[in-house]
Symmetry: C2
Subunit: 242 residues, 2 copies
Amino acid sequence: MSTRPTTTTVKRRKVRRGRPLKTESTPDMRERILDAAEDHFSRHGFWGVTVREVAQEAKVDTALLHYYFNTKRGLFDAVFERRAEIINKERIDSIDAYVKSAGSAITVEGVIDAFLQPILQRAATGDQRWHNYFALIAQVNNTPAWGGETMGRTFDNVIHHLIDALRKALPDASEQELYWSYHFLSGALTLTLSQTGRIDRLSEGLCKSSDFEAIGARMAPFIASGFERLCKPQAARRKKAT
Amino acid sequence: MSTRPTTTTVKRRKVRRGRPLKTESTPDMRERILDAAEDHFSRHGFWGVTVREVAQEAKVDTALLHYYFNTKRGLFDAVFERRAEIINKERIDSIDAYVKSAGSAITVEGVIDAFLQPILQRAATGDQRWHNYFALIAQVNNTPAWGGETMGRTFDNVIHHLIDALRKALPDASEQELYWSYHFLSGALTLTLSQTGRIDRLSEGLCKSSDFEAIGARMAPFIASGFERLCKPQAARRKKAT
DNA sequence: GCCAATAATCATCAACTGATGAATTAACAG
DNA sequence: CTGTTAATTCATCAGTTGATGATTATTGGC
């Protein structure tokens, strides 16, 4: 409008085209795109996000998303798998370390705590990127259309590892009770990770969904009690006296 | 295909326009639109559905959706609130009936069972429309952007009613522990309602996420154990011996 | 130095999206 | 009968969407 080039191409507003110089502090566009996508997908789900929004936040052209990930879905899957490997390895190592150290004194609560701690600790650090990622998992886990399949492909290994360890702590448990108990554990964890802030409002500020320290201290005892109730039917049987 | 009008105006493929005749078995378009919307929103969430898809399934023109609900969001809200009143009343009545009948023999498991049964029984009947509705709740409950607010507006009354009843069964419980425990309950219930079929695949068919009878028998005991563990800290305190 | 491969932007597309004013037909009140 | 209101489809719009071929600039191997 008013400001325009006075002499020799002073007011260059044009973004550089072509391959970038390697020396200029390595922009690493691919990671920037993944971060932006993680941020948006975790908040609004797959269909609630446009590739333009992601591109805008990452400050790149939309064509670059397609260059790296082909399709919007390819981008989503890349986001979903990027951190899965890290957290899965941590959880398996944590379970193994606990099982080894506990020996015959293995407890349900110990196993579940070992399973949860890697996640809750990453969440507790306050790293927004991990927060986003966990919320993304929660979204996928509650997507009926394709969530079950995606979750399975990515996390079944770890879950079976967890259940194997739980079997050691609950040698008499039936398979069914173990899986149903895990189902309830998964739900509780998922809602925790989804970060809707619902419990904050419900409790009028008494509980904060971002207070992962409080959650970390309570979740394993809560869930372990449930496991023991369901998977140790011989002890303390005092159900509804019908 | 074979049965068709023999004489006058045989090949009429054009859909009728204008106000429909009242005598022709009352189509009740409004409900049909809500059913179709419920079906789609529950599967793909708000952004994963287009008004055209809903209109097509309901076999009406898209303009009719706007005639009844103004905007896509208005349609979504109407779907969400349609069944809320019914199920909320059932849950409050169920809790009240239990509290009254149990008297001083009130138990945590009894309260939670009374809270869950209305939902699980409706789900167990196999009515697809209620299935869809419950899956929709699960979607909303895991939508960080606006899920917490919508859930609160619709369900906070019932939840506070539940927690009031639980306080009677757990007179020494701190508010915080009660709310955290409810948080885990809510997560477990939500994942159950979301019907992703994940547990089916994980357990290789041993557990069926549509088997609400199995869930109804296990969920209240599981969750009640957790509540008692967290909210009765004086008894059986045997945490990790650090 | 030359040239193929790589990494990025530009310009554009056909399809789709939510929404709306006009037209059409029936119900209903007086 | 007649005019107003309710319920429905028609026709269409302006903006958005995911995607892509062309273009530009830099790297790195020979």
